[in-house]
Every structure is written in C-alpha cells, then in structure tokens.
C-alpha cells in the first residue's frame, strides 16, 4: 500500500491531508487517515502505539457495551461463590462448614468422630478382623464359652 495525499487549496506554501493510496476496482484512490479524539479535550486523542506496558494513562476508545458484558461475566462466579459461602456459614459463629476429603497425609488430632462410615484398616491391618471380629470373639468367650465346662 503506497502513501498518498489529497492536495488542499494552497494558502501560502499550502497544507496536505495524510492519506493511504489504495486500489479500489480499477481506480487508484486516496483513503484519508484520521485520529479519534475527545470532542472537548484538546489533548484527548486515542493512541495507537506499541507500548511495552499498559500504564493506565493512555487515552482509548470507550466501548461501553463490550466492557459491561465483560464485567457481568466476571461477576457471575463471584456471585455463586458468595452465595455458597453464606449457606455454608454457621449463622451464629460465622464459621464456614466444609466437607474435607483427605486423600493422604496425617490427621494429628481429631476430637470427635460422630459417624465413621467405613474404616478399612487399623495400623495397616484389616480393621474388621482386628477390631470388630476380635470383639465378637471376646463377647462369645465371655457370654457363651464361660458357661461351658
């Protein structure tokens, strides 16, 4: 794409309009280059640049609808998290109730276990055999075997 100009009326040495010269169909035409600027602020021009960092001081085009949508998308998971956390909160103490799945590691101190649905091993051995069934055998010896001489 070649650079081109549109010649204005000469006033002294004359002024020129910055254009891009392109081919449209069979014609070579001049496409005028423009700045997007604030309607009131004389310094409010949108920058087109390649900065190394965004400082926040740059002027830019305001795209309200797009930014609103982005804000809503970001807000949605936050709302969900907020609701969940408030439901899990103890209304008196404000403590969060959580379900913890300990896949590995060590529990140092457990004060109370209300329900233990499954306990497969104890000290590396079958908990059913070492705890429940040994207790049953003890009960049998106590309640049945002791009545047999």
């Amino acid at each position: 794409m070649n650079d081109g100009i549109v010649q204005l009326n000469t006033d002294g040495v004359g002024k020129k309009v910055d254009t891009s010269e392109i081919t449209v169909g069979s014609n070579t035409v001049e496409r005028q280059r423009i700045n997007i600027s604030d309607p009131a602020n004389p310094d409010g021009h949108a920058a087109v640049e390649l900065p190394s960092t965004i400082t926040g001081a740059e002027y830019g085009v305001v795209i309200r609808g797009f930014l609103h949508d982005v804000a809503q998308v970001l807000k949605r998971p936050l709302d969900i998290m907020s609701r969940s956390l408030s439901l899990a909160a103890d209304p008196t103490s404000g403590r969060l109730r959580t379900l913890t799945d300990i896949n590995s590691g060590t529990l140092t101190t457990v004060s109370t276990v209300t329900t233990c649905t499954s306990l497969n091993q104890l000290a590396g051995y079958d908990a059913r055999q070492t705890m429940l069934y040994s207790l049953e055998r003890h009960n049998w010896n106590l309640n049945v075997r002791s009545r047999i001489t």
């Binding site: 055999q129 429940l132 069934y133 049953e136 055998r137 009960n139 049998w140 309640n143 049945v144 009545r147 047999i148 001489t149």
Partner: protein, 517 residues
C-alpha cells in the same frame, strides 16, 4: 471329662461368632455341606463347592480353610442350581485280599485308582482319629467296625485296626470304609459329568462316570439335596444301631423277615427305611445284605416285606433299621423328586411321588432323623415320623410341604405356625441340627433371604420361631446353600452340641452360633 453347660434362659442369649475368612467371595451357586453323624465318626469338615473346578474344605476343629480339590471338572455351567451333599456312610468298598490277623489285613484295589500315602487312613482331616472301617464276612456271618490306626501306602494298602475284630475274617470278607463322599451337582445343561463325587478318604474324584439320565434337562433356579444316609440316626441313638436298636429275627421268607422290635410299631411305620443284616450265624451268607422295606406290620413282632433276598436270612439273624441310602434332590423349578440310587448308579423320578407345586429360589429341605428316640417314642400315634422330608418350597412363599416316605405321599402346603411375612426367596437357606441332645434334634435353622433375620423350625411341632439375628448385614442375596453343621461330641458322657455355620452372602465372612437352647 464330661461337658456341662450352665446356660440360663434370657440371661444367656446365643451369640454369633466370627470364623476364618473364606478365600473366595461367596457368589451364586456356591454351597456348603457337612457330615451330620452324631458321633466322632463324623468328618469334622465343612465342604464348600465354589465352582465347577474347586471344592474347599473348612476344618472346624482348627478354624482353617484350604482347597480339597481344584480339578473337579464338573460339566455344565456353575450357577444357580448347583448343590452338594455329604453321604457319610459311602466310601471305598471291596474285599480283603490278605488277612494277617483280626486286626491287620490288606484291602483290594481302592476306587479311582487311588494311591494313598502311609497312614493316610489313620488320620482324618481335623483330628487324630482314623477312618472307621466295617468288615463283614459271609463265610462267618459276622460284622464288626473298627478304627484304622495305621496303613501302608499304595492302591492296595494293608491296614492295622485299633483293636481286634470280634472274629478273624477270611480273605473273601467285605470291607466298607465309612469315610463318606461329597456328591456335587453342577448347574446348566445336563451332560455327562454334571454329577460327580469326591471321595473323602482317598481325596479322589470318581473316574467311572456317575449317571446323569433323568436329571433335569437344565439344572437351574435352585436345588437342594437330602441324604437318607444309613449313618444318620436320632441324636440319642448309637452308631450302627439304626433308629430302633439291634433287632433279632424270628422268621423269614424269600421276601420278608420278622423281627422283634423294642417298642410297639404301627402298621407301615418302617416303610421307607432299610433293613440291614449285621449278623447271621445261622445263614452266614446273609450278613451284610440291605433291603428297602416296602411293607411292615404292627406290634412288637414286626414282619418286614422286602425285595427278594440274595440269601434268605435265618431266624437268628440280627438286623438294624436304618435310612435307605437314597439321595433325594429337589431342583430346577420342578415338582419332581429326583432320587439317586448309589448301588445301581441310577437317577429316577418315579421312586417318590411328585410334590404338589413347583419349587423356586430359596428352596430348602431336610429329613428330621435326629429327633431323639425319647421324643419319638413318647407319642404312640406317631404324629411325628422319621420317614419324612420337610421342605420349604421357596419362590417367595411360606409354603411348607412334607413328603411321607412311609406312604409315598405329600402333605402339600402344610399348616404350620408362622407369619405371612416369613416368606422364603433367593438367599434363604437352611441347616438341620441333627446332633444337639439338648434340643432333642428337633430344630432346623433358617436364614431368611440373606438378611440378618434367622428362624428355627421345629420339625416335631411344625412351628417356626425367631432365632438370634446376625449383627452384620450380608451383601447381595444369591441362590446357594450357605449354612452347614459343625458338631461337638463328648464321647465320655454322650453330650452333643450343634454349631450352625454360615457363609455370608456375597462376602468372604463366616460366622457360627451354638444351638445352646
């Protein structure tokens, strides 16, 4: 040393006790069976058929498990309908080939080309007791039973007995090892090899095919064996004296024998039993014969009608009245009573009348042979009979039916004391406590539908009552007999206690409970 129990009702409740853990998880078709003889002659093993290939054994004196055999080669497809049973009086049989003395002799070839090790017959699995052997001599007319305390190795071992026989046998004498067989029926399409036995003493599988003709075309749904074994007697009876003691003959014909009974008998009371000649010094060749009784007269001098004798007994013969050694099978949603004749190696469906309604899953059956003689004799009208098979039909019903062997008729849908909620379906199984003298052999114990609920059925009174629940729920209910009987025998005072053993459904756990009351 005698055994004394001091259980007090209500104070001392029965308790289930955990046993060793099975090596395989219980699944559909797996089934237990055990020897229910009421003396130390019983093999202290519970056999557990788990597949078409594997038979496990649980040693209840040692609380241990191992494979009894891992190449059964049962034809068919293992699953619902598979079942097993111990016939304890059936073991290796033959003649003596050499006699060194009244306590040392050589056996003819053992079955299945078995080659036993040194002293294998002198130590059964589970204890230091040798197998009992019965020897009868048709040239002397006598019979005796002793324990084996030593043997040489091989297919024709020389055995030593714990004491001398009451006679010195000749080389033509017969022997019968009372060591037992485990009969096994697989499920699936009927084919040669679907029915086999495991010989306990030699630990071999039959090499000569057992009959499969007249078995169900397809074995399925559920099955239950009943062993009418001659070794099964009342809990207060002595081994080899049958149900009514040893009876002396007073007359005979080619198809009958008249005997003196210890009590007054009703007409036909002894039909369904067998008569076995245990001594006949008058006609020596008559000893050892067994005949099924087809008719019997009333009174104390009872004439028994039997199929023609091979050798007609003399008027001085001594006989016993026993179960007739039939192996009865209910199976495959049928009304048929399948009957296996061990001597003839044949199955028949015409031996006993068909029941009134087909059986279903949860089918259970037993013969109440263990009810004490004292209880039996106390009712002169014989409202209770030994010659009966009590069977719950399963299929989600409460139905109890009773086969009367002495009339070959069924009492279908018997009225008995139970609840309409006590229905039996998949997972239900039963074990009869034939040995407990404290319970007079009256009770069979039932696990309902593989739940934690148990009942016990009183065969004498035809009632069901609740039995101790198991604290541990079972898993998925499947078809298969998971209960068996272990027994404690005190030979010093004759006290006997039954332990009901249960494999939990779809689990590896085993529990046991003493029938303490």
């Amino acid at each position: 040393m005698t055994t004394t129990t001091t259980f007090k009702d209500v104070f001392d409740l029965p308790e289930w006790k955990p046993l060793a853990v099975q090596t395989v998880t219980n699944a559909v078709g797996m089934c237990n069976c055990s020897d229910m003889r009421n003396s130390e002659d019983r093999i202290p093993i519970i056999f557990y058929l788990t597949s078409a290939a594997n038979l496990y054994r649980y040693n209840y004196k040692n609380d241990g498990i191992s494979l009894a055999h891992n190449a059964l080669g049962l034809a068919g497809t293992f699953g619902a309908g598979a079942c097993s049973i111990v016939m304890p009086s059936r073991g290796p049989r033959g003649t003596l080939t050499a006699v060194a003395s009244a306590s040392k002799m050589t056996l003819s070839a053992l079955p299945n080309s078995a080659s036993i090790g040194i002293n294998q017959f002198a130590q059964r699995p589970g204890d230091d007791i040798g197998y009992k052997i019965r020897i009868y001599d048709k040239t002397i007319g006598k019979m005796d039973e002793k324990y084996i305390i030593a043997n040489t190795s091989g297919n024709t071992p020389t055995i030593t007995l714990d004491s001398a026989l009451s006679f010195t046998p000749t080389t033509s004498a017969n022997y019968e090892l009372l060591s037992g067989r485990v009969y096994m029926l697989n499920a699936g399409t009927n084919a040669a090899g679907i029915f086999k036995y495991f010989d306990i003493a030699t630990q071999t599988i039959n090499t000569t095919a057992l009959a499969n003709t007249n078995l169900p075309a397809t074995v399925g749904t559920d099955s239950c064996f009943v062993a009418l074994d001659e070794g099964y007697i009342p809990c207060d009876a002595t081994f080899s004296t049958g149900f009514f003691g040893q009876c002396t003959a007073s007359a005979s014909t080619t198809t009958s024998i008249t005997i003196t009974c210890p009590q007054t008998m009703l007409a036909s009371e002894l039909v369904g039993f067998q008569v076995r000649v245990i001594q006949d010094t008058g006609t020596v060749g008559a000893v050892g014969q067994r005949r099924k009784i087809t008719a019997s007269t009333a009174g104390t001098s009872v004439t028994l009608t039997v199929p023609t004798w091979t050798t007609q007994p003399s008027s001085t013969a001594v006989v016993v009245i026993e179960n007739n050694n039939d192996l009865v099978l209910f199976s495959s949603g049928s009304t048929n009573v399948y009957c296996y004749d061990q001597e003839a190696n044949t199955w028949a469906t015409a031996t006993y009348a068909a029941r009134g309604a087909a059986v279903g899953a949860g089918l259970m059956a037993f013969q109440p042979f263990g009810v004490s003689k004292a209880v039996y004799i106390s009712d002169p009208d014989r409202n209770f009979r030994y010659t009966t098979i009590h069977t719950f039909s399963g299929g989600g019903a409460t139905t109890l039916s009773i086969l009367n062997l002495h009339t070959n008729t069924w009492e279908n849908a018997v009225a008995y004391q139970t609840s309409a909620a006590n229905t039996f379906n998949t997972g239900s199984c039963l074990e009869y406590d034939a040995v407990s003298t404290n319970n007079a052999g009256r009770f069979a114990y039932i696990n309902q539908n593989a739940t934690t609920a148990f009942f016990r059925y009183n065969a004498h009174a035809r009632t069901i009552e609740e039995w101790t629940q198991l604290r541990y729920p079972q898993s998925t209910a499947t078809v298969g007999s998971r209960m068996a009987l272990a027994s404690y025998i005190d030979s010093s005072d004759g006290s006997k206690y039954g332990f009901l053993t249960l494999c939990l459904n779809s689990r590896t756990d085993m529990f046991q409970i003493l029938a303490q009351r």
